[in-house]
């Protein structure tokens, strides 16, 4: 029998792997991938709790909203990454430390 705790532990593992990617990677695309992993863990939590909410279907509805928000975030983030690459010729976040032109 799969209980709620199974889902929560799996999503905690995925969330912490994403957290590690955000903290340790020296490449902006991999940091974005880490953020995507963390959003996926949050969506898994939404869906696992939404199983118990038959009246409002809140978990599944907000899981879809979270997927849409993640897609919007990744589109804007990749546009910013391409601009930064065009400007600095690198996407290592440690080399990008000037706001001025």
């Amino acid at each position: 029998m799969i209980t709620l705790t199974h889902f929560l532990v799996v999503s905690a593992c995925i969330f912490c792997i994403g957290l590690y990617a955000v903290l340790a990677k020296r490449n902006t695309i991999m940091i974005l991938v880490g953020i995507e992993l963390m959003i996926n863990a949050a969506i898994l939590n939404f869906v696992a709790f939404g199983k118990y909410d038959k009246v409002n279907y809140g978990g599944q509805v907000f899981a879809i909203f979270a997927i849409v928000l993640a897609a919007a975030a990744v589109a804007v983030g990749l546009a910013i990454i391409l601009n930064v690459y065009r400007h600095f010729n690198t996407i290592n976040p440690q080399n990008i430390h000037e706001l001025k032109d």
Partner: protein, 182 residues
């Protein structure tokens, strides 16, 4: 029952192991293809929480849209990346990012400890839903109910999020265009 939990453990192990390999591997292109596997197995896990529409949306939006976008961004910023990989691989092989590992492991142990200690007493609304049988069942027509919910109860957030998505996509297209008049 037996095969259900077996499949659940298989999907969970696939997701966690390929995510671990994703953050370990140095080649960005291989890491992005491992993200493909992670997203597919997460969609499989959503199926076990009886959210079939969410799983299909995950495959459509993430695998079809976000991952292709990430691969495009990787290929458009490729030249510098290869130099970066070669120059830094020697220096960091002896010293892993131990601060990040410690922080992530501490957060993981905190969350798992709280889940284990919380598992004995569920919140009241969950135990009530279990007692009264108000859970989502595998025989329910989820997609139909979800469509009704989107058009009746959640119609305002639905419209707001669609306008937000349009704004974000127009903004992204505006940001990433070539600047000609300069």
């Amino acid at each position: 029952m037996m095969i259900e939990s077996l499949l659940f453990y298989a999907f969970a192990a696939l997701a966690i192991l390929s995510a671990l390999l994703l953050v370990h591997i140095r080649n960005i292109a291989r890491a992005l293809f491992l993200l493909f596997i992670v997203l597919f197995s997460m969609a499989g896990l959503y199926l076990f929480a009886l959210a079939d529409f969410i799983a299909i949306t995950q495959i459509l939006v993430y695998v079809g849209g976000v991952l292709i976008l990430l691969i495009f961004a990787f290929m458009l910023s490729n030249k510098e990346l290869l130099d970066d990989l070669q120059s830094s691989s020697k220096r960091f092989i002896s010293l892993p990012n131990w601060q990040a590992i410690i922080l992530a492991l501490a957060f993981l142990s905190l969350m798992i400890y709280s889940y284990i200690s919380w598992a004995q007493d569920m919140p009241e609304w969950i135990s009530q839903a279990e007692a009264k049988g108000r859970m989502i069942l595998p025989t329910d027509n989820n997609i139909k109910i979800l469509g009704f919910k989107f058009m009746t109860q959640y119609v305002l957030p639905f419209e707001v999020i669609s306008v937000f998505l349009m704004m974000a996509l127009i903004g992204a297209a505006h940001l990433s265009r070539k600047e000609s008049n300069k």
